[in-house]
């Protein structure tokens, strides 16, 4: 069994969402950047930006991510379940094959969308 995921970056941090939570990928427009959503400083030099739209049941949300953006497959042997220390918003970590590579953060789509909605309501 393998999972397909969309791989992208938030600044220099590699991230992925499983395609089951993916509703679309378009050229970047004027949505908020994922770094703003996560409260991180934004990497203004990023290239190949895209707007990613996620959906979880009735919740839909879009944000800009940094490239390169690509579809990848994740094997169960590459995945590590996120511990309680990983905080919220992460369902698993993906391990890349190259030595010294940082773990790939596999986002919790439902949590991200709920957080985005709460942030919109608060603003």
């Amino acid at each position: 069994m393998t999972w397909s995921a969309l791989r992208f970056f938030a600044g220099s941090t590699p991230m992925a969402v499983l395609v089951s939570g993916l509703a679309g990928v378009q050229p970047a427009s004027n949505e908020p950047h994922i770094c703003e959503l996560l409260g991180w400083p934004r990497n203004v030099q990023a290239s190949e930006q895209r707007t990613v739209t996620l959906q979880d049941q009735h919740l839909v949300g879009s944000f800009i991510v940094d490239g390169p953006v690509a579809i990848m497959t994740l094997q169960p042997s590459q995945l590590r379940r996120a511990s309680i220390l990983a905080g919220a918003g992460i369902v698993a970590f993906g391990l890349e094959t190259s030595d010294g590579a940082p773990p790939l953060l596999v986002l919790d789509v439902g949590f991200m969308l709920q957080h985005q909605q709460r942030a919109k309501q608060a603003s």
Binding site: T13, P14, L38, G39, W40, R80, A82, S83, I84, L85, A86, G87, A88, G89, I90, F93, L95, E96, G100, A101, P102, P103, L105
Partner: protein
């Protein structure tokens, strides 16, 4: 009285009162002493899993307090803690993230990395040398080679990082 006489007297005293000698030995614990960015730290040797070069750290969204991020170490994904900030009470600093190695420790099945500039080695500290502290990530402090040494409480760390930020 020279050193040999003193040693002989100590051996004789220990032989005369073996329970006292055992108590004294039992109160001594081995600690790994290491240098963080801003502080001299120690952690009980039986909680150490390994000392590894620092890998690339991934930042986390909404991380628990003191968690700088996660890194991959030989197939495991380990949260990396920034205890310098716990001492100084300030925000995560880039200089801390650049420290070259990690002391990887485990408590209650929870593995975590502590960033370190330098490790000094294992040293035995007696409980009567330590001043207990409360309400922090440190169980005690003492003076070691003329500097303040903070003894890390893995139990307190695990409790603290499991709470919301």
């Amino acid at each position: 009285m020279n050193d040999v006489d003193a040693e002989q007297q100590a051996v004789a005293a220990a032989a005369a009162n073996p329970s006292a000698s055992t108590d004294r030995l039992a109160a001594a614990t081995e600690y790994l002493v290491f240098q963080g960015r801003a502080a001299l730290l120690a952690i009980a040797a039986d909680q150490i899993v390994e000392i590894a070069p620092r890998a690339v750290i991934s930042r986390l969204p909404w991380p628990p307090r003191y968690v700088a991020g996660v890194c991959a170490v030989r197939g495991r994904v380990i949260p990396v803690l920034n205890l310098d900030d716990a001492i100084r009470g300030d925000m995560l600093r880039v200089e801390t993230m650049a420290l070259p190695r990690m002391v990887i420790a485990q408590f209650d099945e929870l593995e975590f990395g502590l960033l370190a500039e330098h490790t000094f080695g294992l040293y035995s500290l007696r409980s009567d040398e330590l001043t207990p502290t409360q309400g922090t990530l440190y169980s005690a402090r003492t003076t070691w080679r003329g500097a303040a040494l903070h003894v890390i409480s893995a139990e307190a760390i695990c409790a603290a990082v499991r709470l919301p930020a």
